[in-house]
Symmetry: C2
Subunit: 213 residues, 2 copies
DNA sequence: GATTAATTTAAACGGGTGTTTAAATTAAAT
DNA sequence: ATTTAATTTAAACACCCGTTTAAATTAATC
């Protein structure tokens, strides 16, 4: 039994790294199993198919992040004064950075997987997340809406997806952007620094008054 | 000679649509040539390789969009009063929507291709665009920087890439988001409506004061 | 109209993909 | 210790990929 979980974990560890770096369809099972030093067929034995492996990789992160994020949001929401958007987004920093303790580079891997998933899977991931973590998401959306009551729900829907695009695209390109920033401006940002840069941007965008003319 | 350009165009037309919908690596040459109703080998005959076809598809849009965008930005920049960020971003609407006249759905196809390219090509597209359209990009960046002089260059670098992520991710998911918006809020947005929604979001994010604490 | 060049075509090539199979091995249970 | 179950393994399967080839066809040139 020790060997089973071991093999499963080795596959998940190798897969998530490669998936985040090169995308799902660009990562072959042969590459994963060779990096994980397990037999090719063990993926299908333990996970059934490549698609289910992808889901397992994502679920391993979502199962840690989503409850943790919901707790932080609830903590804010139950506070007497209404939290600002910056505070709400910042409440996600701790859950995100805790993923770094689960695995080296976990934070950026998770965000990159999220982005890859949303773009590559043409809606499948969106469905998967909303059906499996809908309550957690609703907590977050409710908190954001309460902090920006001047934004109509439909407009908020769009802006939250703008926000998702911002963070997810940024993280997918984070390594490349960091290289350019280092070369051109002498900047060296880790994942946390980038997250702290992007939060004010997103908060300002979400809260900007709707143009009426 | 009529047949040559015809075949080339048929390939480009079919390819850009499929590339935008499913991504580059998920789109096979066999799918492209069957949709285009041309022979499989004609892609390699006319373009040399799949990679060069991808470049040709992108260049056909960039060659129209980039000069047109630069003209609009320059028009703003030469005006006596400084343009606002909203005006600068809005100046891109016309060049973007003109792509719709070049081809049906050209605007969203272009933005989706851009997003796919940035995410799939791990920096190749970024290099291609900056080396081929660097002067046009510089015009845009200079105009934005002049409109938000309180943002340091390094911070502006990051915020402009946040902005790219916002628009590009949004457009890549536009169809799916539109379906949800229609079902949940009775909204029906075309490409222009989405662009007009996202511009205030991006402008507010780019201009938000840098936190100093 | 004959000759040359450009294009289209069908077929094959070599290689990579996810998945399945059945035998070999290891672990667990009786 | 023997039987049963779980896991690992090497090999093969069937399929799709981008690219190349060489012959057939079409267009352009002399």
């Amino acid at each position: 039994m020790a060997s089973r979980t071991d093999t499963k974990t080795r596959i998940l560890d190798a897969a998530e790294k490669l998936f985040a770096e090169r995308g799902f369809s660009e990562t072959s099972l042969r590459l994963i199993t060779s990096k994980a030093e397990v037999n090719l067929a063990s993926v299908n034995y333990h996970f059934g198919s490549k698609k289910e492996l992808i889901r397992a990789v994502l679920a391993r992160y979502l199962d840690v992040f989503m409850p943790s994020a919901a707790i932080e949001i609830n903590r804010l929401h139950h506070a007497p004064e209404h939290a600002s958007l910056n505070e709400i987004f910042s409440a996600l920093i701790k859950p995100l950075l805790e993923l770094n303790k689960v695995r080296n580079g976990g934070t950026i891997i998770f965000l990159q997987l999220l982005g890859r998933g949303y773009i590559e899977s043409q809606g499948h991931l969106r469905w998967f997340i909303t059906t499996h973590y809908g309550e957690h998401l609703a907590t977050f959306v409710k908190a954001v809406a309460a902090s920006a009551p001047h934004i109509p729900p439909a407009e908020m829907f769009w802006r939250l997806h703008f926000t998702l695009g911002t963070i997810v695209f940024t993280m997918a390109s984070a390594d490349a952007l960091n290289e350019i920033a280092a070369a051109d401006y002498g900047e060296h940002n880790n994942t946390e620094a980038i997250i702290r840069k992007v939060i004010p941007y997103m908060a300002a965008g979400v809260a900007v008054p709707v143009l009426t003319n």
